[in-house]
Symmetry: C2
Subunit: 115 residues, 2 copies
């Protein structure tokens, strides 16, 4: 059935800080978020550079989706992933920015401010 292929996404208002933090505390998931942030558009599950098996990756994508951080939709056999940037910024202003910025090497930050 096609209905099964439309996964559940939480409404913006039901997104909790607890779940968001639980999501981004994992390095693999944080890497997914970072890659989505740096990319120009959405990315298929297989398009990420991840150090885990496919089944583990699926697990991480689900955690991110249920936390409200990403939106997933099918494009053929591929499952695309989109960062819910604006919505997250709306509920938790500055959070995503701070994390992604902190994720980048220190030299980048120096270049941006004092460089």
């Amino acid at each position: 059935m096609e209905a099964d292929r439309i996964p559940h996404h939480p409404d913006v208002r039901t997104i909790t800080l607890q779940r968001v933090l639980e999501a981004v505390v994992d390095p693999v998931r944080r890497s997914i978020v970072t890659q989505l942030c740096d990319a120009s558009g959405d990315i298929a599950c297989g398009g990420f550079d991840l150090p885990v098996s496919k089944s583990t990756a699926t697990h991480h994508f689900r955690i991110l989706r249920e936390a409200g951080l990403i939106r997933q939709y099918y494009a053929g056999t591929s499952r695309m992933n989109a960062l819910r940037r604006d919505e997250i910024d709306e509920v938790f202003p500055g959070l995503l920015d701070a994390i992604v910025t902190a994720e980048r090497p220190a030299s980048d930050a120096e270049r941006a401010t004092a460089g």
Copy 2:
């Protein structure tokens, strides 16, 4: 010995995002950070409103200290806790603010922006 009573604090440069996130992902520890943020000064371990036993609280304080989020020092028999605000802001700008802001009820945020 008094030397034993000076716990180890990580240098600012050795503070990692991973450890900070692992620290704040726990609700009890996040509550400690929030209470420190809202308070005017430092707070003794016993001065916090926490839903755990004393030994568990000790555990949480250690995690926060080793992550670089708080500074601990003795004042008599009491162990005082200070938020390393400026230092954290230096390495991870905006992170603490975003988390503490997200922690507050939504009504507060509304009042601050649109109210």
